[in-house]
Amino acid sequence: MLEIQRLYKEIHGRPILQDIHFGIEDGESLAIVGESGSGKSTLAQLIMALKQPTSGHIFFDGRPLPSKGILSYREWYRDIQIVFQNTGSTLNPAMSLFQCLEEPLINFTRYNRAERKHKVLEYWGKVGLNENLLRNRPGKLSGGQYQRACLAKALLTRPKLLICDEMVSNLDVLLQQQMIELLISIQKEQGLALLFITHDLTLLPGLCSNIMVLKEGKQVELFSTSALYDEAERDPYTVTLLNSSKMFETAWNQWT
């Protein structure tokens, strides 16, 4: 479904991504893992056509990445949606939450007002938010609620692929777990393909079937999640990443 071939991206002559190639099939879920500055977010922006690659190709269902023409962009975004990192400003602060969520429906569908309201309420409930909140401005939401609202907005047009760029990174551990569970249930229900970008390997089991590790813009390895703890087979860098998240766990256990 999503096909990435020999993707390169340079910014001001500095290579950010080098020779990236992978694919995602219908309903599959892939995690992209790497530390800060490894090019994960740039990759997400390239797939979302928010930036253009220096060279290489991105195809979705055989269509190439749009570079001009509103129609081709619209078509692209109807199939691929993204939930950005929680920065608390991806929803327009001058609109009510209902208007924010209505936006993709207005642009992508021909629903009338009543149908749009029905859809928004359906997804608002699906991500576990209270209907009364819809009248508020985005600024009134807590961090966890905000990400749920963004998730609902991304899912409203029933995309085939959802990209989650560090979606849970700013949330506390309990909320992270809730969000992951929510994602798993929605993915099962809608048969959605998922590209989950994170720096935290421990979040992935149960959510993603495959993992790709990025280091300094290069693809280190791509493997099945079931082989994550198989240290003999893993690249030393993957093991370091895994151990660093384990270290917190050990430190925590010593404290308690």
Partner: protein, 267 residues
């Protein structure tokens, strides 16, 4: 509601005054006690009394009626001038910032030229070319003010453009004009609104100042600046002739300023 008013006594008073002023201006033909242009030589230069609360001028015209009628000539044009200036600012400023690159550079150089010219001088030169009269003054004032609004709006849009919600709105299928009208302009409106209200008093002072200099409204217009000019010649004989229009200009400009300052503190 009452607690808000109690905490903002002065701005509330200013707001009430402005509402009253606008109603007075609109209802002028019905509420003014006399015809503002009717001269009566038996009653010239009368001091304020019950029959003539603001007194009469050197032609015996009732000053209160003239001040009331003057509202529509002194205050309302300000709104029109500022609306035109803001419209130009929004159109040119947003497109300039939105498209960026060469057009943006060209526009900014052009506005640089206009902001560099002293606005009073530019106004006088324009009126010198086009002739006296209120319409020419409005045009001249617009000409000397539009560049400031284009620059400020362009700057605001330029900042808003980098906000994550603008990127996010693209992904939600909003492009071009839709991004501008639905996502950018609503987010800069609070700043522009405050700026507009603060500028109302400046434009009032400019317009009545130009009339006072004799290049704006012409007698027998009851424009406050013109009345002030009339009053200047009779300052020692009939000080009320200059006092009332002058005081109205002061009160109106101050009220808009007070409200503007209050709004600015809000943010």
């Amino acid at each position: 509601m009452i607690s808000i008013i109690r905490a903002n006594k002065l701005p509330t008073a200013a707001l009430l005054y402005i509402i009253l002023l606008i109603i007075t201006g609109l209802a002028a033909p019905w509420i003014s006690p006399y015809d503002p242009f009717h001269t009566n030589h038996q009653q010239k230069l009368l001091p304020p009394s019950i029959a003539h609360p603001f007194g009469t001028d050197y032609l015996g015209r009732d000053l209160l009626s003239r001040v009331i009628h003057g509202t529509s000539e002194s205050v309302f044009p300000v709104f029109i001038v500022l609306s035109v200036v803001m419209l130009i600012g929004l159109l040119v400023g947003t497109w300039s910032a939105f498209l960026g690159n060469k057009l943006d550079m060209l526009m900014m150089s052009l506005t640089d030229i206009f902001t560099a010219l002293p606005s009073m001088l530019l106004t006088i030169v324009v009126v010198g070319f086009l002739g006296f009269g209120m319409e020419n003054v409005y045009f001249a004032v617009i000409l000397s003010w539009w560049a400031k609004y284009v620059r400020i709006i362009r700057g605001l849009i330029h900042d808003v453009k980098k906000e994550p919600y603008i990127t996010a709105s693209r992904v939600s299928g909003a492009f071009g004009l839709r991004i501008i009208t639905r996502h950018m302009i609503p987010n800069i409106m609070p700043q522009i609104g405050t700026m507009l209200i603060l500028d109302v008093s400046k434009v009032i002072l400019t317009l009545s100042g130009l009339s006072f200099l004799g290049i704006g409204a012409q007698p027998p217009s009851p424009e406050w600046g013109v009345m002030l000019l009339d009053g200047k010649n009779y300052l020692q004989v009939a000080p009320w002739m200059g006092f009332f229009p002058g005081f109205m200009i002061f009160l109106t400009a101050a009220s808009f300023q007070i409200i503007g300052e209050r709004l600015r503190r809000e943010r």
